[in-house]
């Protein structure tokens, strides 16, 4: 298995723990990740501003991976959704692909022929690596952990963009991945709720109302941590957690962990190898397990 690792804008700056854990777990599980330095923004922020430019930015990244002959493995759910959507659109519509390619060629000297696929890392773990291989590779007991899975939105919606690999109303892939490493995935109210990251820039106070509800509900359900698969969801739940606590005069102190960090610890990687020191809200339970 070989993929181009698509970092996007947020993960390599704001979620180095996620990137580290993804690289080290992939290596442990026999997935080769190739870096393509020319990758830039996926186009997501421009979908609201200028549809055509967003499509060109996506096509540019798709072309870069295609030149290397590899599919894309993305860490950010919004990048995954944006690139996969553009990919489906360009693959299905020959005329549009030609006109996009004419502009892409003129501006960047590249063309996209429509030959690659885009996958989120968690989906690759779930589908390509598979739960059995993950279970077999686990060496550390995480059975004491009660975890709240947060799927986020662009990891699985819209379903046609993600080949309907999971059910948007009652998703299961992340629960199964959590269970595969021996931990318990608990039910909590509002599991499918959005992190609010999409409107953080437009209206911060409104945006922070969304993670407040999720944190409240996960804590009420007795979660030891929230498990995420997107760096922007992490910004909302972890980096903004203290501010939300201040705004609403409450206390959550809920650790937030990226799934590959959890996986890495189960596979016997060290706390440093999964970047655990970079997690802002410390999990006493996790630290005890790795010590």
């Amino acid at each position: 298995m070989k993929y181009a690792l698509y970092l996007g804008c947020t993960a390599p700056v704001r979620a180095m723990n996620y990137e580290l854990a993804a690289r080290n777990t992939a290596s442990r599980l026999g997935i080769e990740l190739v870096d393509i330095n020319d990758f830039g923004c996926c186009g997501f922020p421009l979908k609201s501003v200028h549809h055509r430019t967003a499509l060109l930015l996506s096509a540019r990244n798709l072309a870069l991976a295609e030149e290397q002959g590899v599919d894309i493995c993305a860490l950010c759910s919004s990048c995954t959704g944006t690139l996969a959507e553009a990919n489906h659109t360009l693959q299905a519509n020959e005329g549009l692909r030609q006109s996009v390619n004419a502009e892409l060629e003129a501006t960047t000297g590249r063309q996209y022929r429509g030959t690659i696929q885009v996958r989120h890392y968690a989906r690759i773990l779930y589908e390509q690596v598979g739960l059995d291989r993950i279970r077999e590779a686990v060496t550390v007991d995480l059975s004491g952990l009660r975890l709240a899975a947060h799927y986020g939105c662009h990891y699985l919606k819209p379903v046609e963009v993600h080949d309907r690999f999971d059910d948007p109303e009652n998703p299961h892939s992340l629960d199964r991945l959590i269970e595969a490493v021996g931990a318990t995935s608990i039910y909590y109210e509002g599991r499918d709720q959005c992190c609010g990251g999409g409107i953080l820039g437009a209206d911060e106070a409104t945006a922070l109302g969304l993670p407040r509800l999720k944190l409240e509900r996960a804590v009420a359900a007795g979660a030891d941590a929230l498990v995420v698969v997107c760096p922007f969801c992490d910004i909302m739940y972890e980096l903004q957690q203290r501010r939300i606590e201040k705004m609403y005069e409450t206390r959550f102190n809920l650790p937030v962990i990226f799934y590959p960090q959890l996986l890495g610890l189960a596979l016997g990687l060290s706390a440093a190898e999964v970047g655990l020191g970079l997690n802002r809200v410390k999990s006493r339970k996790l630290l005890e397990i790795v010590s």
Partner: protein
Amino acid sequence: MDSVVDANQMDPAFVSEIAAEPGGEHIRRCFACGTCTASCPVREVTERYNPRRIIHMAVLGLREAVLSSDFIWLCSTCYACYERCPQDVRITELMHAIKNIAVREGHIHPSFRAQVSLLEQHGRLYDITSFENERRTEQGLPAILERADDFCRIFATTGLDALAEPEETGVDG
């Protein structure tokens, strides 16, 4: 919310304008059931955002009121309504279409203008300086070099360069 709708403010061509925009094609399918609003996580925390109301305003042709509003920028793009809509109105994409028209009419939200500027200057939403690369090196991660040239050329071709701010700004997560 206020008010009686003023028939003189209704632009009957607005719905066609939206339907001609990528993502807006299915607007006429809406039968106003409200599943979108009931599913909306933003509506759960504020009454200022109500997708059924926005679609209804658009169908009535309240062009200026919709395009100049703040509320069209409050869609978090979660796709909950998109998945549940019984009429396949594809509301998330419909909201993108409405925002694209708003931008052309000069109503770009300042936070999005800031993002356009960052992308034109850096090719990324977060600037990568030597500070970020030092931190990455400390963690054993490869350095990242900014490659904004392609972005400048793409933005110049599509006209997006005109939307960028004259000076550098930052977004903070």
